[in-house]
Symmetry: C2
Subunit: 181 residues, 2 copies
DNA sequence: CTGCACATGTAAATAGTTACATGATTTC
DNA sequence: GAAATCATGTAACTATTTACATGTGCAG
């Protein structure tokens, strides 16, 4: 992302800053416990992009501290809030959806390797889905608190939806495993 | 991808060639009607990678034709088939799963813009899911034929699983929309 | 005789991850 | 005083998409 266009990364940062001011580090750790399952971000994107948002007047840096340590806390500006709202109201171009699932790809091609391999792939996928669902469930209490403090269940609903979808995935795998044995 | 390591793209191509010989163009159009929903590939990957597979002795080119036109048809070698089997049998590193869903991200942050915007996002998502499911269903007959010719339902099962998962996603959206009004 | 699907490829741009580099503060 | 976590940042690398370039053959 060069020049003065905004991309999805910009809006993720603005979205997090819209709730309350935070540092890049805060955004990363919060994203890892919420949006990670449908939108990952890395430090390599966060820190340069925060600077850019300041240059564009969409965010501002306020010297903050935590304990004795200095940290760069950013807050969203009125202009930034307006830009976020515009993005939210704008219909998303194309589907805005992509997925890459290497295990499912292996399952898709598994006939080339025989039933035993296929079964091992399915078992591994089942374990992955169970671990993922457990992780999502572990997030629920924290997200519930955030939802309560913001008097809105939206973020909790998204988490619950994630659990439901991955549960459907798990059910599908279990069905295949049952048919196999 | 440089040198002589294989990446997932290599194995997608080998996987398609394992069923029967085809051209790069064939692979692309077939992938667009099967793996696209969990693993996209583009010509920019396919053509250079096919050449590389030949250099590595995993695939070979056979001059073919369709009508009067020449086309580069590739087939998998014994070495290629062995490499594919090794990949299939190898446990997948990490989760091998990633997803990016811009509309879900908008929903996640939609509190910043109010109920009307949130409702419009949900409606747009519902339309997307319905269109996606319709597309997947439209693929079923063709995939059924392939499954019959290969005497294996695996590819059809993967497609059905995709439909189920996206149906669960759609159900989740419908629930939110009902709560909203 | 035109437009569409077939067909192959490269170059440039874009997006994103990972590795590196550094250092402070807290907790055990 | 060692380890973990907090904290910020850049550079290099990897992966993938998109745009460009070119041409054939068939169907209406």
């Amino acid at each position: 992302m060069s020049d003065n266009e905004l991309d999805t990364t910009s809006f993720v940062l603005l979205g997090f800053l819209a709730a309350h001011p935070r540092s890049g580090y805060d955004i990363k750790s919060h994203a890892d416990h919420s949006t990670r399952f449908f939108w990952q971000i890395s430090y390599g994107q966060i820190y340069p992009e925060l600077k850019r948002l300041v240059e564009l007047g969409l965010a501002a840096q306020q010297p903050g501290s935590r304990g004795g340590r200095t940290r760069n806390v950013y807050h969203i500006t009125a202009k930034g809030r307006a830009a976020l709202k515009r993005w939210l109201a704008l219909p998303t171009t194309s589907t805005g959806f992509e997925m890459r699932d290497e295990m499912l790809l292996k399952l898709f091609f598994s006939d080339a390797a025989g039933t035993a391999v296929k079964q091992r792939i399915l078992t591994q996928m089942q374990l992955r889905q169970e671990a993922l669902i457990a992780e999502l469930r572990a997030m629920e209490p924290r997200v519930k608190d955030i939802a309560a403090s913001q008097a809105s269940a939206t973020k909790l609903d998204v988490l619950k939806g994630g659990i439901e979808i991955h549960q459907a995935y798990l059910d599908f795998l279990k069905g295949l495993l049952k048919n196999l044995t």
